[in-house]
């Protein structure tokens, strides 16, 4: 806990978990999609579903998808901003399995056709956790540059990725591996201490056996 977790953050009310956390989920989802959102299908779970409307969770998620931060005063008007920018969205309730009470599932399509399905939770004090990406297990918070590689479960991929990072002098903070079954779909999630160069991300995308690379860069783009 640091001092500014106690006095702060500066945020738009009324709730750090239902509002500020929701903005952050939307914001990180947009960064992961890596392009502007054209269409968002949003499914609210648990307390997000029960009290989300009163807490502005719906407007907060859209604000985040538009690239706003938790302190942005346009959050209450985000539906209007989305309309102006031609972003379509819809909300429904859902019962997610084994999910945190403040959870949301979003199916996103970007303006250039990229797609992303993300399940995330707001875990208190405005902090979040991404629990699923494109249907596969995940567990990261979006505070670090994060490299997510979906590949076929074959020998060698982990070594390829980690040696590439070593070559670029990118230190690994945490690393997780998941797969649905032996030889099936696998995912590695690597939180890094610094940004991974764009050409390395592109290089990974072209590797055989790699199905999709998602990279969370914390450098803001317009």
């Amino acid at each position: 806990m640091n001092l500014f977790d106690i006095v702060g953050p500066v945020m738009v009310g009324p709730s750090s978990s239902h509002t500020a956390g929701a903005v952050r989920i939307g914001y990180i989802a947009k960064l992961l999609l890596n392009e502007n959102v054209k269409k968002a299908e949003i499914y609210l779970h648990g307390s997000f579903r029960a009290t989300g409307k009163g807490h502005g969770t719906d407007r907060a998620l859209i604000a985040g998808l538009l690239g706003m931060h938790p302190e942005d005063e346009r959050i209450p008007d985000s539906f209007q901003v989305a309309k102006e920018q031609g972003m379509q969205f819809s909300f429904e309730g859902i019962e997610l399995r084994d999910a945190h009470p403040n959870s949301v599932l979003m199916k996103l399509t970007g303006v250039n056709g990229r797609e992303l399905e993300i399940e995330a939770a707001s875990i208190g004090g405005g902090r979040i956790r991404i629990s699923k990406l494109d249907g596969l297990e995940a567990n990261f918070c979006g505070d670090y540059p994060t490299l997510i590689v979906h590949n076929l479960d074959q020998p060698g991929h982990v070594a390829e990725v980690t040696s590439m990072l070593a070559h670029k002098s990118v230190n690994i903070a945490t690393m997780q591996l998941y797969r649905d079954r032996r030889g099936g779909d696998a995912v590695m999630i690597i939180e890094c201490d610094k940004e991974v160069p764009p050409e390395s991300v592109e290089w990974l995308e072209k590797l055989e056996g790699v199905r999709k690379v998602t990279y969370l860069s914390l450098i803001e783009k317009q």
């Binding site: 806990m1 640091n2 001092l3 500014f4 977790d5 106690i6 006095v7 702060g8 953050p9 500066v10 945020m11 738009v12 009310g13 009324p14 709730s15 750090s16 978990s17 509002t19 500020a20 307390s47 029960a50 009290t51 409307k53 009163g54 807490h55 502005g56 407007r59 302190e71 005063e73 959050i75 209450p76 208190g124 004090g125 405005g126």
Partner: protein
């Protein structure tokens, strides 16, 4: 923060012969590896944001549920008309606490201190104090450091969220933080600062979190008033030389134990307390129907 108890802070103040707030700031500088300017500047930004939030209050705003809005304005009218028994100073503190709580419920920009639900307590007492006593910004920011240091110890030893510890953890912590800051502003010693905090926390021990329809509105907004006023009376007692008979760190530990013992229906689930009254349930039903 490296301090796990208020006693450690008090000991450091004495050993290093530095002011309370500076001990806290230097700890922040070493933890976040930032300069004095950066640390002080970050706290200044928090205080400035609180002031802007106070000034941009809009009495016409209503929360999404329609339960909250306009009370700060109504309170101000009563204070201006000389109708309040508690006088101008406490009256203005009440006005500011209501305003900030309402602004939060109406999706305006606020500073969570320590949480969004309790965001009215610190600005209510600090901004009013500065207006009435005419002290410089720097001094107010020092008081913010004192308050933040106390809050961080509470967060380390217990909790600051209604969902984990009930409202004693939220409004209670905010009140303890503000009390410590006020005692500092009134020239209190390190001992008086932590005892002010302890007395404030003690007085709100057991406070349940029971928001109607699960929204940060009822009773949250008005609890900011009690948290703020309780901070002032606690600081006044401490400055008078009155001590908490239970040592401050033990009070925090008691708050933790009470929070754990509280049933989950009284920890932000909106299932107990005021939320479970016939009127509370009626509001909840109406909210659900509108969705």
């Amino acid at each position: 923060m490296s301090f796990k108890s208020l006693k450690e802070i008090v000991d450091s103040v004495r050993e290093q012969k530095k002011p309370f707030w500076r001990i806290i700031m230097e700890d922040d500088m070493s933890e976040r590896m930032v300069s004095e300017e950066e640390s002080f500047g970050a706290m200044k930004r928090m205080y400035d944001t609180m002031r802007m939030a106070d000034q941009s209050y809009d009495e016409k705003l209503k929360s999404a549920s329609g339960l909250v809005g306009g009370d700060g304005w109504q309170m101000r009218e009563a204070v201006a008309a000389g109708k309040t028994m508690s006088g101008a100073f406490i009256g203005e503190v009440m006005v500011k606490a209501l305003k900030m709580g309402e602004s939060n419920a109406c999706m305006k920009r606020i500073v969570a201190a320590p949480t969004a639900g309790s965001c009215g307590v610190m600005p209510a007492v600090f901004l009013t104090y500065q207006e009435q006593y005419g002290v410089k910004d720097e001094k107010m920011i020092e008081a913010m450091f004192v308050a933040a240091g106390i809050g961080t110890v509470i967060a380390e030893r217990a909790f600051i969220a209604g969902a984990t510890g009930g409202c004693q953890a939220e409004i209670g912590s905010a009140s303890a933080m503000a009390a410590g800051g006020l005692a500092y502003l009134q020239g209190g010693t390190e001992q008086e600062i932590v005892h002010a905090a302890a007395m404030a926390l003690k007085s709100l021990l057991g406070l349940v979190c029971d928001p109607v329809a699960g929204l940060v509105e009822v009773p949250c907004v008005k609890r900011n008033v009690i948290g703020a006023v309780n901070a002032i009376t606690s600081a006044d007692m401490a400055i008078a030389g009155i001590v908490s008979r239970i040592p401050p760190d033990e009070v925090i530990d008691a708050m933790r134990a009470v929070g754990i013992a509280l049933p989950s229906s009284l920890k932000e689930t909106g299932e107990g307390g005021l939320a479970a009254t016939p009127s509370g349930e009626e509001f909840t039903r109406r909210m659900m129907e509108e969705q």
